[in-house]
């Protein structure tokens, strides 16, 4: 951060003279390049490098990264802690499944419709946030997650009946076709690429918000609500806006998840998943968009990898997440997304010093 400030300082005069916009700094270009390279790697290289099983896992990584992104927009940007994000994912998944059974909407339209419906529901869940904050909001949203789990299992989701609700007294899943996938994403690899692109768009959507008027308003609310109010920020509007954005993204992710699983079951979604997601999002880092990617990897890839490679029970990972969370809370509030680059820079400096000393040693020996 300080390096960026220093390099930005000399160009300041020029940027001011150039017109009403601050010029795009070198750091922004570098970041854009890194993102483009990683996206290309994810789209082209990963499917070639890993097996079919892993491609499905990486699809889940992308989906859960978007869910973590929703959490970090709410908590990292606005300061509202919501533990109901996986519940919203399951709602998105439910709506996506039923829409797929009941209608013949094209998949992209389905994504948008599911996103919109989840957005409305998620914003309603966010209403208590206008009055409650901190622990109380966390509790309310966790209770919402619990209620969602109960409703899903009570209605024997996805049930087997017709229509949108699909509820029938004697459910039979035998005749159900799997949730349909986009026409050019039917195979696992093609659907993986489709998912990465859609999730990339969700990250872009978040980035556009954060770097514009809503992002500044959120930062102002997080710093101090009275000061934001005195500055003319409509706190109700911007808090709801954050919930709407997070729920929309999570709903879209839910619809992708429905198509990925094909035959989602109520058992797929547990209340505790909301807690694990919050933990991994915090470990990844809630103040950076990269943190959400790290969270997706921690949440979906690591459990699968540990199980597949070493047969380690996934519940064991919960302990690791607990330890990781403790470490983040105590030493690195910015999470891995901030800590890792800093550690690497320190390591680089250390190595450079080592080499220099070695070289000097050789010179004196000569």
């Amino acid at each position: 951060m300080s390096a960026e400030t220093e390099t930005a300082a000399p160009t300041e005069g020029r940027a001011a003279a150039a017109g009403p916009r601050l010029g795009v700094s070198r750091g922004t270009w570098i970041r854009a390049g890194v993102i483009a390279a990683l996206l290309l790697f994810a789209l082209l290289a990963i499917p070639k490098l890993v097996g079919d099983d892993y491609v499905t896992t990486f699809t889940s990584v992308a989906i859960y990264a978007v869910v973590a992104l929703g959490f970090s927009v709410l908590y990292g940007r606005v300061g509202m802690i919501s533990l109901g994000q996986v519940a919203l994912l399951s709602i998105g998944c439910w709506i996506g499944t039923r829409l797929s059974f009941a209608t013949s909407l094209p998949f992209p339209v389905m994504l948008l419709v599911v996103g919109a419906i989840t957005m409305v529901l998620g914003t309603l869940v966010g209403l208590p946030a206008l009055r409650l904050s901190g622990l109380y909001l966390a509790l309310i949203t966790l209770m919402f997650a619990g209620a969602t789990t109960i409703i899903l299992s009570a209605t024997e989701f996805p049930n087997g009946g017709g229509g949108f609700l699909g509820f029938t007294a004697n459910p039979s899943l035998a005749g159900l076709k799997p949730v349909r996938r986009p026409t050019w994403g039917t195979s696992d690899i093609a659907f993986y690429r489709y998912t990465v692109i859609v999730c990339g768009l969700m990250f872009l959507l978040a980035l556009v918000h954060i770097s514009a008027k809503p992002g500044r308003a959120w930062a102002s609310i997080r710093e101090s609500e009275p000061a934001a109010l005195a500055g003319g920020v409509n706190i109700v509007l911007y808090k709801m806006w954050a919930f709407a954005l997070a729920s929309f993204m999570t709903g879209v992710a839910g619809c992708l998840l429905a198509a990925q699983i094909g035959e989602p079951r109520a058992i797929t979604f547990q209340t505790q998943d909301s807690l694990t997601l919050a933990a991994t999002a915090l470990i990844g880092g809630i103040f950076s968009l990269w943190g959400a990617v790290v969270a997706g990897i921690f949440n979906q890839f690591l459990p699968f990898f540990f199980q597949a490679q070493w047969g380690i029970n996934t519940y064991f990972l919960l302990i690791i997440f607990g330890a990781g969370l403790l470490q983040v809370l105590l030493t690195a509030p910015g999470g891995l997304a901030q800590q890792f680059p800093r550690d690497m820079a320190n390591l680089g400096r250390l190595a450079a010093r080592r080499f220099r000393r070695l070289a000097e040693g050789e010179r004196t020996n000569e």
């Binding site: 960026e4 400030t5 500044r216 930062a219 710093e223 000061a227 109010l229 003319g232």
Partner: protein, 238 residues
């Protein structure tokens, strides 16, 4: 011009403002009084954080109390806080821009207005520097810049010089003095630094236990017997 009439605020058992009436004609006005006299409560009523039990506030002829709290900034009400409130994670530019974009000012003028506000307060740092990296004095200036950007009509400054060294206080005083002329905004300064108040303010009002005990030309008010006794106490009371 701000006309306050019979303003009363009651919290359970406490009356921080008790039938306070005053008129600030314009320019830079001082509002002084001992701790707990009701100065910040008065600002909080103006901002809409506290609903008064009785009384009215008219600013430039408009009923301020009828306006929704967040709409008052758009109308032109600005304020700073006793504890400085810049947004640490945002750049200096964005800190000022966030006020500008909620003030109803045109987007096209944002860059020019933000730069002008920075120049006005004499904040000589990179607009891209994060507010969290600034020193205490610079942050105070940033807060004043936030208060004057985007067509302010009334600027409330709550102890802006608290904790600043003398030299920086002097600079801040010079800045505050120029606000009414530069932006056409009525400025109300709350501070305990009497030399700052007397150098900036033409009119000064004194609050004590929620009542206005004196108002008038600053020099006269500061010499007023009631004012000195409110601050220092009288022999009878000891």
């Amino acid at each position: 011009m701000i006309e306050v009439d019979g303003l009363t605020v009651r919290f359970a058992g406490v009356t921080p403002l008790d039938d306070a009436s005053l008129v600030f004609p314009g320019g830079t006005c001082g509002l002084i009084g001992p701790n707990g006299a009701g100065k910040t409560t008065f600002f909080n009523v103006l901002s809409g954080f506290v609903k008064p039990a009785a009384g009215s506030i008219r600013a430039y002829g408009e009923d301020l109390l009828k306006m929704a709290d967040y709409k008052r900034a758009r109308w032109g009400l600005r304020r700073t806080f006793q504890t400085e409130q810049s947004i640490e994670e945002l750049s200096v530019f964005d800190n000022i821009a966030v006020i500008h974009e909620h003030s109803g000012a045109k987007r096209a003028s944002r860059h020019a207005d933000v730069t002008a506000a920075m120049e006005f307060v004499g904040l000589a740092v990179s607009p891209r520097a994060k507010a969290g990296t600034l020193g205490a004095g610079e942050r105070r200036l940033l807060e004043v810049a936030r208060a004057v950007v985007g067509r302010p009509r009334v600027v409330l400054l709550d102890e802006p010089a608290a904790g600043l060294p003398e030299e920086e206080t002097e600079h801040l005083g010079a800045v505050i003095q120029r606000i009414p002329e530069a932006f056409g905004a009525l400025t109300i300064l709350v501070d305990h630094d009497m030399s700052l108040v007397s150098s900036c303010c033409t009119t000064t009002a004194v609050l004590d236990f929620g009542k206005v005990i004196a108002i008038g030309a600053t020099a006269d008010v500061l010499r007023d017997e009631r004012v000195t006794s409110a601050y220092l106490g009288t022999e009878e009371e000891v």
